[in-house]
Symmetry: none
Subunit: 410 residues, 2 copies
Amino acid sequence: MLGEIIATGTELITGRVGDFNGRYVARRLHEAGLEVQSITMLGDRAPLLQTLLAQALARSQFIIITGGLGPTDDDITVAAAAQALNLRLFEDEALLARIRRCLGERGLPWEDRYARLAVIPEGATVLDPGASACGFSLKHQDAWLFFLPGVPREMRVLFDSFVLPFLVGFAGGGKYMRQRTLRLFGITETELQEKVNKLVDWQQEVCVGFYPNFPENHLTLTVRGQDPQALEDDLDRLTSVLGREVGEMLLGPETHSLEEMVGQKLRQQGLTLAVAESCTGGLIGHRLTNVPGSSDYFQGGVVTYGNQAKLDLLRVPGETLEREGAVSAATARAMALGVKEIFHTPLGLAVTGIAGPSGGSAAKPVGTVWIGLATAAGVEAKNYRFHGSREEIKALSAQTALDWLRRELK
Amino acid sequence: MLGEIIATGTELITGRVGDFNGRYVARRLHEAGLEVQSITMLGDRAPLLQTLLAQALARSQFIIITGGLGPTDDDITVAAAAQALNLRLFEDEALLARIRRCLGERGLPWEDRYARLAVIPEGATVLDPGASACGFSLKHQDAWLFFLPGVPREMRVLFDSFVLPFLVGFAGGGKYMRQRTLRLFGITETELQEKVNKLVDWQQEVCVGFYPNFPENHLTLTVRGQDPQALEDDLDRLTSVLGREVGEMLLGPETHSLEEMVGQKLRQQGLTLAVAESCTGGLIGHRLTNVPGSSDYFQGGVVTYGNQAKLDLLRVPGETLEREGAVSAATARAMALGVKEIFHTPLGLAVTGIAGPSGGSAAKPVGTVWIGLATAAGVEAKNYRFHGSREEIKALSAQTALDWLRRELK
């Protein structure tokens, strides 16, 4: 069973944005053992889309089309598809009511152009994820077509919940597939590949994919067989084998982010946390508070970008700042202790460093970062040297700080 | 003159890597006023490549093919192209000598498979950049074809030094194109399109593209004509017309992010800033500090996730928190004043709200956000009701707070 992806949007063929959707869908399908033979990107032009759809129908058993389903004039996918497939369009009343309800819930007024969103080709089945934009599927001759929104977040929900399960089941013919993506941090892709290659017997039973996902590395395990429970057991076993090989560099399955893992551990252990951020500028607090319910364990933090704030708020001794500098072990320790104290928390995490591009010196080049962690047992600081752009150094600093905390909370 | 891009490589259709080459070429061509109608990615499969080449020749005047020129068995581009175009292959002696010389210079031994690299279709012109891999060009019927290596670095050298200059000169024939992308915030895509439609005469002279770019909306204006300077003037005029229509919702050109704009204004006006974040958790500080040199005007901030921290650090009166609640005008004002005071800055920005998914009530549903801004002139608070996921509400809160500051600094 061969398929293809057609991604529409003028922003894609002007190089304005990368094609997130095509790559995401291709990767998911590949991991599931379904073969994509091409990904085509085109602008919002109906004649070319019609031509491409006709050509796709001649060679593919499934076609996933993203983009062009919105309410504006450059959203031409539905009309072009109806032309290409020679289908009539009709207004789906249930879909129209659903759109009215969603607008109402969001407090948005009705506008006539929204009616376009309810117009679909005859024979189409609406794919309704509940909370976000709909898509639709269509069987035409021997092919399945799936029309999904272009906004990546919306596309992903529909693809994951409707398209992938359908295609896997349809193509499966009795065989099941189970898949798990594992997240690793602190290991390069090459090192990871070498470790995996050592575990030779894997290659016979499992398909392994490597995906750099800055600042982490992800690894996907895919297994196939007759018994779904046996496949889950296989994945558990393979995860353990890998865990023994790479140790704490294995964060866990994709389902939980590092900040969620840290949050779970803090909650389980009844601990609370405060953070003092210099070069990360608030990124650690931002990541921690992306997790619902984080107010249970995250008390808050201080962003001390200037030295004065390190003195005033965190009570870092002026002598320390003068003698050791703002980017030093002593300052990181004092910041961690200071923030722990002013927020009355058992844990204080601090980061101070040089994100660049300026501000570096021979002794403390750009990318020099000190991380401090204060616990009931005392306070410790560690030194790192990161490489990359300003934003990459910030991201690596925040990730490394959260990862230290994760390991500490074992 | 219409063109298209065909990128070959199995890694592209398994989602393993993104298509750097296609996006790079598309962007460069678009900037140069040459229109790319599609980008197609496919695996290393000769039959499909032959089909796609034949289809491309039927609709495009230039075709750029990347990848599949190497010495290994999965490098199928040259053979597939010769088949599709019905051309004989021959061994180019000069190219063969060049390959032998390069291997020698690198101290690599000759291997028979390298002879493949010198086999090209009859009529092809070798594109030799000197230091790295070669490509070739070919005129077929009315179309120009360019075959480039798949390694991005090698592809880029050949594209920049041969393909782009050739196409720009060839297509030039008098007409130029200029383009500008504008960023807007606080207006829906639908509202924006209505505003643009009102300015009817636009549609005759300018091509308008809409690109949602959460939480902003982007709009691209493209103009074509004989005189490059007149086109720039056109874009200036169109930007002004739009600016009059949408007012402060127009942030400006794509080149500067909102945090950069705020930073520039703070720097110009010699002002410094501190932020007090509750529901945004550090996101505002993170965005501000993504800008190099932001330490000149951003002093830091406090993330007060719990009430105790609002009391202790920001000196929000306990009475205010008790009577009005943490998410209220009075608390937002007190937070803005408090952070301004403790960081000794002329400006204090504060956000307090309910990011959800829990924590809402009938009176203060999820998405209720108060933003406070303290300046030399006093302190003000504004109330918002955002919709979306927890992360979207955080993003909208941070963006709205920064946008208020931008407008205030006019």
